[in-house]
Symmetry: D5
């Protein structure tokens, strides 16, 4: 029985062999690159017909489409990530976490930004002083209940 | 001798008494609300003249301007934040961290988004299905050195 | 400046002196006992007029009403709670967590139960073989976004 | 020798192949879906005759019935669960743990809710503002001994 | 307002001044020494009349009796205890924990020994090869529910 | 080369196949059930002739007797055990650890109960209000050296 | 009421003022320097008459003698010590721990070296290639019980 | 390619089969038993000719001599060791660590005992009140640099 | 599909067989020994043509060149390294970390030394009192943004 | 009695008031800025006459010179430092630790770089592409003992 990890390994293998980018893999099934990449890494669920298209495009076994559309148990095993590219985001949350809370609640009242009804994009933007990475996150504002 | 924590406490006190928002405090010294809030919470350094303006506006003691322009040691004591509003961001990094790495490196080569040459904004945006919080982060792309 | 902790201490003091129950304190301001208790312990926000009523009923200083209606930073310092009464709930989540996930997703698709748009009750119910505690939790079902 | 984990893997395999729900698997042996799911995941003990029925219904090897009725060592390896659906329950215990303790003890005296003489249900309930998940937990009240 | 810790400190002070043993303090109020000691250390609840007797015997302030009969939040801050006398018990649980589980379940079926409906004694017993400490623990057997 | 874990697995296999209890396995070699169980789980050393008898009784390979009489490295990998039956003992040490220390030292002076020159028994005892589990631990009292 | 920590602080104060060495403080009461130092740091119990002599010699308040002869709860708060001088010993145990176990058990059978019936010395010894520190530890060999 | 762990496993196998002691294995190559044992456990480097002699004596494959003379990465995976024989040394460092520091620095000035230019012995010594284990450690005294 | 770990293992194997040093391996492809070693250990990315040269020189399979030029996820699994040679650097950061921060910020203003636009060298230098290891690190100074 | 922390606080106070740099404070007593800063932060020992000069220069109380020349217990409380400027060094050790070990041992044989017989410098160096921070560390090479 194929696991999520098996399918991720197969995708990396096809990616290395074919030279396809995540951007292209996502575009070919008509979804965003952040979402498709996260689903290929086993952290999100592809709608079944999207999974089938992806499996067809990459030449993966049919069972992979079932696996890609199953609901993952999202496990991140490093409490503090060590890869520098990922750690910087952890650091940003550490440094600006209380600030984000102050401003979200100043704007919306007692509540949070949802991480479930959520989307995100990543872009590289050229600037005179050097290219910048721009991240945009958008999540539904959820108010705490009082009862 | 006033510490960063003392100054943060004083600012919260004046904020509660005056009803001023972070947005207003920031606007009154001509800087962004994310940056000013983080500096007031002891996580960033205000330029000296901005610190003096803020101190004047809030009626803080003169020494507070010195403190606000000193370089903080950024300590975040919770390895995993427990406040739900902050935890959701930690969760996003856990779930999408590897995805962010894949896409940043696909777009820029081996490197990272800087958390130092960095800025961020927070907005609440109305949507038919409910308001959304939108976060925009921008950091310089830094390439790994090979030597 | 009164902190959330100061107000919690004051409430415990008045409770000990007056013998009032949480049930009574909550009923007197027309809200549920779970919510009011959690707000008195600094883990939720009372609506301002409810906070003023509570402060009046318990004879607390006026500033306490402001504090009770401010948005708390929810910090729980024990990663694994040690008090037996609280640990048992931690254990239930450990033993049944994956089961809850399987069933919530079987019933609703890929998603979660919200802990924000959420309410809860606690009752003691008599049974022939001994009284039972019954907890009822209700949270909005939130679907993961695909984009 | 089959282990609990082997049997769980076999059940997932049959579930994927047959499309059976946990609700149906449980109903077919006349037990609740929470309990049967937890036993299939290796976290509870099925009575022997129930185990045999389940093994028959799913077409598992005979030895699986022995395994399902052995007493598991309940190991949950993540001190803080990372899957969002499970984490929300951990968060609820963190935020409301002391509140639960206050109310259980106000109602029953010094004691706890048992996690052993315990049952639980999960339902999805439609509401105008969106479906809700409702959890009901029931555990025997146990008084501390004084001696 | 006196806290549990304040009362523990007062009791240690009176114990040092008076030279009274825990055995004597317990006997004077007609309860066991394990239970009374644990209550004096803030880990159990004395019945109100016992608390009043103890307060009288030790010459503590009246409020201490209220505190001793309040329900404690049992916090043990060292996950692994470092004092050698306490560590040895932690080690015993580490070395013999699975053995205890095997034998309790062999004798009683799937279940546990309660730590709530529980009592314990400690004795020093002379032996030719050297005195021994004998601990006796007794807890109600609780069967897991199947439903 | 057989490891301790291999031998434990073989014993579980024979136990499942034969239906023998730990009590019977121990009695057949004339030792206590706590000690024999712990040795079978790899946490103690059987005297060589006892190991040979056990191997004969259970029909294990000859090498198993060598392994059972080798000195184990006692590793318990969960700092806080999660199985409820084992956790309750951890909780008892947490709640009563300081009490045990006070009473052992009141009775014997500055010292500890040995966990090496140590024995233990587990019984289930019928009581009108429900069966109880009774644990008896006995360890040599060891005085601290002053020099 | 003086605590162990208070007495340690007083001793450091007198040591700084008087320039007395630990060697001299120990010699003046006729005990070893390791034991006396550890007792002064709150990690061992001085016999009462030794405590009184020490208190007299250093000019400490009379109550300090009571405190020095009370049984300490030995708490070491750093799981991994950070001071280089102490860390090196931790490292030695990490690197040579399994070796020590192999050799102690080869020489004495299944058992351990006691840390309770234990003494230790520290010397600086001149060598041509540079002075060496020599530590000698001696603890009673304790055999595991089989029963 | 043989790893350090493979070689350790082979040595244990030959030791069990041949009944050779560590003392004998060490003596046969003319080195101390502590050092040779630690090298066989993968925690030190044997000089090449010693490694060849040991490999010859134990009948190991030739490649093992290469492996035994490679420089190990010293990994000890348990931050706090659980085996009682090893834990007691950890406890000694916890209880006496600050004492060791005080005395080493009183004798030598600001500095430490080296754990690199270091040797150690373990002996069992008969005493009327019972055998004792005696550990002798010797490490070069290293002074902190001031510059 | 070869992983980074597979390639590292192959390189160690060829190194052991050929006796080549890291210095020589690096020199043969015209890059520094620190960078090449770190890339061979899976912690950096070799430029593709350098990877091909290295693969040719060491006689590795062609796929290894692809792997060596892929971007690694940098995982270091020990939060506190235990190998003494690596630990000493951890200790230096612990002891001098705040000092480094004070001096970097005194010289450059609020900012940091980049670990990305970074290079390093390691040399052994002979001195009369004994050889010394000299590490040189160089990283771009990055100023915090104010906005 | 002044503690190391008290003296550090006093030095920060004088530094803020006087505007003196660490470079100047160090130069005025004829020592390096890294060493003097670390001693002022309580992480090293100033020679007594240097301590007296520094105390005179900064106008500190006389007792501060005694404190500055006492041997500190070096405690760093964050296992993983959170301040970005300090974290980057931790990251460098994580990423390059094994590389440093390989190269130090290739150059010197089995051994380490001392962190005790050690010195360090920090410089800011102008470069066309932006200023760089250059760190130089130098520690004595220590060979492991074989015995």
């Amino acid at each position: 029985m194929l696991t999520k990890q098996d399918v991720t390994d197969l995708i990396y293998e096809r990616k290395r062999a074919s030279g396809l980018s995540w951007a292209r893999i996502a575009e070919d099934i008509g979804m965003s690159e952040v979402f498709v990449t996260s689903a290929c890494l086993g952290m999100n669920t592809l709608p079944r017909e999207k999974a089938e298209a992806l499996v067809l495009n990459l030449g993966l076994p049919q069972e992979a489409a079932v696996v890609l559309s199953e609901y993952p148990t999202k496990v991140f095993s490093q409490t503090v990530p060590t890869d520098p590219c990922i750690y910087r985001f952890y650091e940003i949350i550490g440094v600006y976490g209380q600030t984000l809370k102050e401003l979200i609640q100043e704007k919306g009242g007692d509540g949070i930004m949802s991480a479930i009804d959520f989307d995100m994009s990543v872009e590289k933007v050229p600037y005179p002083k050097g290219d910048r990475i721009e991240i945009r996150m958008s999540g539904k504002f959820l108010s705490y209940n009082a009862w």
